[in-house]
């Protein structure tokens, strides 16, 4: 099936600010009227990092939030591309292509659980905003990170009313001392209608494993935003394959950029995915 790219467009925006949130987390805000008007929760944008031929390819980033004609992106400087983005100054140009990809299904009623690992926080402010516009107020965010300074600040998940955020850190510097998946059990007790997850692929696999092992009924809407190294971001290079289970149980590939990045967690071949090298390897 051909992806619907009818909203996607090239747009050169103006950087308003690159804010340092602590712990290496950065929030880039840019004036991008087209993206702000068309981005749906869970969709992403391909950002050009600099104007040279190295780094060559655009980099995918979740649209974290939109407000009027501006968009926010949350990231950290992990390699050449994100380093260049981290150095952007107010007034600089930002070359974008988006919105791209298949986003979250926004349900009409709660309770809803959002599970974030590290930079997996990125798509949730936009999602939570959309849920609230549908009248969903019972939203619980489970937010995990290595250490306290790397936790996306609770008040940024939604404004003005902050949702309930339960935090976990690997080193115990804030919230629960341990993994974000440890918080899933109590969260499932509320029988959520939807559970949305975003984070590194292995963390998503751990979420699915924990859900299955809990024995609780799986939420009817159960979706994760996955990662794969991308060539194009719009379905032509076939570079971003992720393993899913076909209807007959056999393994098949789906494209992260057009079939995803958000996929039903029931469809993903988690075993196949865990056998792959991490997205950072490319």
């Amino acid at each position: 099936m051909t992806a619907d790219l009818s909203r996607a467009a090239l747009e050169t925006g103006e950087v308003l600010v690159v804010e340092r949130l602590g712990g290496g987390l950065l929030e880039l805000v840019a004036r991008l009227p087209h993206l702000a008007a068309t981005a749906m929760p869970g969709t992403f944008v391909q950002l050009r990092c600099g104007e040279r031929t190295t780094p060559l390819l655009r980099r995918p980033f979740s649209v974290a939030w939109t407000q009027d004609d501006t968009c926010g992106f949350v990231f950290e400087a992990v390699g050449a591309g994100t380093r260049l983005l981290s150095e952007l100054q107010p007034g600089d140009r930002l070359d974008t292509l988006g919105p791209l990809g298949h986003g979250f299904t926004v349900v009409n009623g709660g309770p809803v659980v959002c599970v974030s690992g590290g930079l997996g926080c990125a798509p949730f402010p936009l999602l939570i905003n959309a849920l609230r516009r549908r009248g969903v107020e019972d939203i619980l965010v489970l937010n995990g990170a290595r250490t306290a300074t790397r936790l996306y600040p609770a008040e940024r998940f939604a404004r003005p009313a902050v949702p309930v955020v339960a935090e976990a850190t690997d080193d115990g510097t804030r919230g629960h001392h341990g993994r974000v998946t440890d918080l899933l059990g109590p969260a499932l007790a509320s029988h959520p209608t939807a559970l949305y997850a975003c984070g590194p692929n292995p963390m998503l696999g751990a979420v699915m494993r924990t859900l299955l092992e809990s024995g609780a009924d799986l939420p009817p809407t159960l979706e994760a935003s996955l990662e794969a190294p991308m060539g194009c971001g719009f379905g032509t290079c076939l570079g971003c394959a992720l393993p899913v289970r076909a209807e007959d149980g056999s393994s098949a590939w789906r494209l992260c950029c057009t079939d995803g990045p958000v996929m039903p967690m029931r469809d993903v071949d988690w075993e196949g995915l865990s056998a792959l090298p991490g997205a950072d390897v490319a």
């Binding site: 051909t2 992806a3 619907d4 790219l5 009818s6 996607a8 467009a9 090239l10 050009r48 031929t53 190295t54 780094p55 060559l56 390819l57 655009r58 292509l97 794969a228 190294p229 991308m230 060539g231 194009c232 971001g233 719009f234 379905g235 032509t236 290079c237 076939l238 570079g239 971003c240 394959a241 992720l242 098949a252 590939w253 057009t258 792959l276 090298p277 390897v281 490319a282």
Partner: protein, 287 residues
């Protein structure tokens, strides 16, 4: 001259491209995505994803990896198979102004002949490009490396099609001119050069190759001078039209290929970076 101000490019057997700038195989799918992003019908040709007898799932990930000024790919010719292209995709090309050239790949002469036979009655297919040079499946490259085998393949396809046959040459050979001459002698109407260069990237933390098969195909601006040398050698060796491809990022890097004797060009990897690159090349060449 066309409305666009270009002299049409005659590739032979009735295939005339409205202008010299095309989208390279494997970087534009079958056109349906880019049709939503750019005015695809202004371009000179669409060379489709490599198409095989049966559908192929493609290689395990990671399938792409960036390098300085380029990228490696190991897609493994994921495609829906020639029957699905002929029956399902071709009707969707009806009415498109851009000539559609179906890139065909295979592991044996029979495979290529079968694909050409299936495509022969399909009105929307303007020509075929024989990919004898894919570095990501073992068999196809052998045709690209051996002038005799390449000649036999082209002769066999020539017998089953009246369509313009373009042969896409591999740069991973010691004498690309010899392969070009062999396919010209066997009845090819045109040649395109080059496909990707075999490359490898090491994940430094683990010391392992990033791509699952070890190597992949290198494309992008890093290969432009290499591709240019190969295309110049091919232009010197044959009399049929030569289409230049490799590392084009704008009109200047495209014009280099025309200067060494190519009559048309294909834009590949640069489309990933900016879907409008081919249109920018077109406008730049005119200006």
């Amino acid at each position: 001259m066309t409305d666009d101000g270009f002299t049409p490019v005659d590739l032979g057997r009735g295939l005339t491209l409205p202008n010299p700038v095309g989208l390279a195989s494997g970087t534009a799918g079958y056109g349906f995505e880019l049709d939503q992003l750019i005015d695809i019908n202004r371009l000179g040709a669409l060379y489709t994803k490599g198409t095989t007898v049966r559908a192929r799932d493609g290689n395990p990930p990671p399938r792409v990896a960036e390098t300085d000024g380029g990228m490696l790919n190991s897609i493994g010719l994921q495609n829906p198979g020639v029957d699905a292209v002929a029956a399902g995709y071709a009707p969707r090309w009806r009415g498109w102004a851009i000539p559609i050239i179906v890139n065909v790949a295979g592991g044996s002469i029979d495979d290529y002949v079968h694909c050409a036979t299936v495509l022969e009655p399909v009105a929307e297919v303007a020509g075929i490009e024989l990919n004898i040079s894919c570095p990501n499946i073992a068999e196809g490259l052998d045709f690209g490396r051996d002038p005799l085998a390449a000649g036999r393949l082209v002769a066999a396809v020539r017998r089953v099609t009246e369509r313009c046959v373009i042969v896409k040459l591999s740069p991973n050979v010691t004498d690309i001119a010899a392969v070009a001459r062999a396919v010209e002698d066997a009845g090819a109407d045109a040649v395109s050069a080059v496909n990707t260069y075999i490359g490898r990237k090491i994940h430094r933390a683990s010391g392992r190759s990033v791509l699952p098969l070890g190597t992949g195909g290198l494309s992008g601006p890093a290969i432009q001078p290499l591709a240019l040398a190969a295309v110049a050698a091919v232009c010197d060796a044959v009399h049929i039209p030569v289409i230049g491809v490799g590392g084009i990022v704008g009109a200047a890097s495209a014009r280099d290929f025309l200067i060494v004797g190519a009559c048309a060009v294909q834009v590949g990897t640069a489309t990933f970076v900016n879907p409008e690159t081919a249109l920018q090349v077109l406008d730049g060449l005119r200006g």
